[in-house]
Symmetry: C2
Subunit: 262 residues, 2 copies
């Protein structure tokens, strides 16, 4: 059972450092919460930026060390992108969804469709790298559902209550402008909330109301997370009620055979 919240609170958790490869992210997040005087309650959801998870996993790639394949060189010429970045996009993807001038949309190996395979090409430099290194790209986490589960396990151990964890990224949309937060890793929280079968106000059955709970939580958290100078990679969402779930973010992804726009 999930009940809608009548009141929801979102809080950027302060004190989360800019982690580097090898960081024990679950411990670091647990520490930020306790340092901030935040005691988790049942049903709290923690939304963690995918970039933070990627940094801890050391998903940095130094672009000059990437050797583009012939296919990447061809595609790079066609879309007008750095061939080394295109090579990384292809390595991270199972299929190209759309390729046109300035745009390369791919089906990520994790199942979802996303521009540039979700690679952050803003040159986020790994700590301790040489001054003349880079530019760098940052790949999405290796297994975001597992990362979410590891964070959840640690937080549940310390708080002795059940919580949810979402690893979020910002996605563009094919039909709408601007990015929105999307859940690429989920643990504890049902990614989809199936409201079909609940009576509506007149006691009839709702026709089509499966809500993308994970994505909506990620979108809400993005309102407080920021991506720029603020740097708030951990957001607490308090006020949802849900039964613990073991479904991952894959359940939010349409399978290729369900893709109306393939």
């Amino acid at each position: 059972m999930i009940a809608c919240a009548a009141r929801l609170e979102l809080l950027a958790v302060p004190g989360v450092p800019l982690v580097g490869p090898g960081a024990d992210l679950p411990a670091i997040l647990a520490h930020a919460l306790s340092s901030g005087g935040i005691r988790l309650a049942k049903g709290d959801v923690l939304v963690v930026s995918s970039k933070l998870v990627s940094r801890a996993e050391g998903r940095f790639v130094e672009l000059p060390k990437v050797v583009p394949s012939p296919r990447a060189l061809d595609l790079a010429l066609r879309v007008g992108k750095d061939a080394r970045l295109v090579e990384l996009i292809l390595r991270e993807s199972s299929a190209v969804s759309r390729a046109t001038r300035g745009v390369l949309v791919a089906r990520h190996r994790l199942g979802f469709i996303v521009a540039n395979a979700g690679i952050d090409a803003s040159n986020a430099v790994p700590p301790g790298s040489a001054a003349d290194s880079g530019p760098w790209a940052l790949l999405l986490p290796e297994a975001p559902d597992a990362s979410a589960a590891a964070i959840r396990a640690r937080l549940e151990l310390e708080s002795r209550t059940s919580v949810g964890v979402v690893v979020s990224d910002s996605f563009g949309r094919p039909f709408r402008l601007g990015t929105v937060g999307a859940a690429i890793g989920v643990s504890g929280l049902p990614p989809l909330w199936d409201r079909r079968g609940e009576p509506d106000l007149f006691g009839r059955l709702l026709e089509q109301t499966v809500t993308a709970l994970g994505d909506q939580v990620a979108a809400a958290a993005d309102l407080v997370a920021g991506q720029a100078a603020e740097g708030r990679p951990l957001v607490l969402v308090r006020g949802l009620t849900f039964d613990p779930s073991e479904q991952g973010a894959q359940s939010l992804t349409r399978r290729p055979e369900e893709d109306l726009y393939a």
Copy 2:
């Protein structure tokens, strides 16, 4: 200037009645807020369900009175939907985006692409209709930006501060499962928040960060709004900071020539 909120609060406003055609919605919403003891503050955003706006505008259509065109009859046969509903979808749309078994996705006359032209076919009955009437369909509001502006004007008049108003609907997505809240009417709040040009943590320029603020606010509000027995069609979002904007929800919509999946 928009600053991310470090803390955001969402509250379902109690006491909003199930309005019918001709209701003075701005006055009704203002009354619900004051009855609930809620005093609006600068930067508050009110998210109003499109269904509530449609009800007030009398956008009910009694299906048995709809005469399907030959084109609607053909299309209905192909996709397996009620021909009268298909007729309404075509009337509300400028183009069909995808039509396949059980699915009819259209470009709505308001510019966005949405399943079934956003028509609610769950038989929401207009108040005072005969017991043997219907079934009924409920179309999207006539001009949701104008509806949002009218609500905003009334709330700003009473509160003497600047607020934002979003008229929201639940949209499916072509590549992901589950619905999310989307902004189909916006007033006061910038629908898109252009973060390009802000320095990132290392003082470099962010590459691509135009956030769909309106949609993220709608998605967040949907977490507390519910659609079923709870019926919470008005949500207050408190904690955002933004300069007043006169941009409407159209700015969230990709134009047909920008549609990579046309």
